[in-house]
């Protein structure tokens, strides 16, 4: 892992990985959403409203998966002081927060025709809202510590503590009685309760959103590294003039 601690080496990889992830993401997302909207069949119980799943599930997956990435990056920054780890965490946080917000809003739009309400304080919905607040807390603390010239340790610790919310989100539908349905896909067992005509566009959509998430994070990391170079060079120029 320390091989990638070198920002120059990371940039060499990121320069070719960015366009690849971006193009793959755009193609798969467009295909998944098109099939989901126009080519997949309506659900036998939910009817047409099941089409919201093709945007809601990928957003939920990246809201939670993004937070796992944020927690791993924060742990790496705290334990090994990996120079890119803090940058990766800062790059992931706003993107993960945006996907969590999209998940909550699209879920709310799905809830109204399915449950008859936009919102209930059930365990899954509430734990996802807590996830959004954790992201916002990380962003606020990280910005505040950055302004004071700190190493953003407080934000990293908050990200690690917040990771306890991830198993709560995952198992909320089993531990409590919730309006939210249980899991339809068991990744570890490779089983799904969905029909292939519904599962296929969902998986294509999830893959597309994941590539787009990676592309956005890579672009944000490149921007932050470039800003660091500008700051360092400006400091050196100012010192040379003085």
């Amino acid at each position: 892992m320390h091989r990638f601690a070198n920002p120059a080496r990371f940039l060499r990889i990121a320069r070719w990985a960015t366009p690849i992830t971006l193009v793959l993401g755009l193609i798969l997302t467009t295909a998944g959403l098109y099939i989901g909207l126009f080519a997949s069949p309506p659900d036998y119980q939910q009817g047409e409203s099941v089409r919201i799943m093709y945007v809601h599930v990928p957003a939920a997956w990246l809201g939670s998966g993004g937070y796992l990435g944020l927690a791993i990056a924060s742990a790496t920054a705290l334990i090994w002081r990996h120079p890119l780890a803090t940058i990766a965490a800062r790059a992931i946080a706003p993107v993960g927060a945006a996907f969590t917000a999209i998940c909550l809003m699209s879920g709310s739009l799905w809830g109204k025709p399915t449950w008859g309400t936009y919102w209930v304080w059930d365990a899954r919905l509430t734990s996802m809202l807590v996830l959004l607040f954790l992201y916002l807390g990380y962003l606020a603390l990280s910005a505040s510590e950055g302004e004071q010239g700190g190493e953003r340790k407080g934000a990293a610790i908050l990200a690690l503590i917040g990771a306890i919310n991830l198993p709560i989100i995952k198992y909320s539908v089993e531990w409590w009685n919730t309006l939210h349905q249980g899991s339809s896909i068991n990744v570890l067992a490779g089983k799904s309760a969905m029909a292939p005509e519904i599962l296929t566009p969902l998986l294509v959509s999830v893959a597309g959103f994941t590539f787009l998430f990676a592309a956005i994070v890579l672009m944000r990391m490149r921007a932050m590294l470039a800003e660091q170079r500008v700051e360092a060079r400006s400091r050196r120029l100012a010192e040379a003039i003085a």
Binding site: L37, V55, I102, L109, W110, K112, M219, R220
Partner: protein
């Protein structure tokens, strides 16, 4: 006997299209924001390198 007529909203107009517009709009905004920030920062770094 009283007969009630329950008007059901159009699923596509009320829920499906709004959720897709919200998601695609959010994705496009994230992509444009990160792309322009990256290009601007890398251009500044290159310009400063040439000085």
């Amino acid at each position: 006997m009283i007969e009630a007529v329950v008007a059901r909203p159009d699923l596509w107009a009320s829920y499906i299209w709004p959720s897709y517009i919200l998601t695609i709009g959010g994705l496009v905004a994230l992509l444009v924001w990160s792309w322009t920030a990256m290009r601007a920062a890398e251009k500044r770094a290159e310009d400063l390198k040439r000085k």
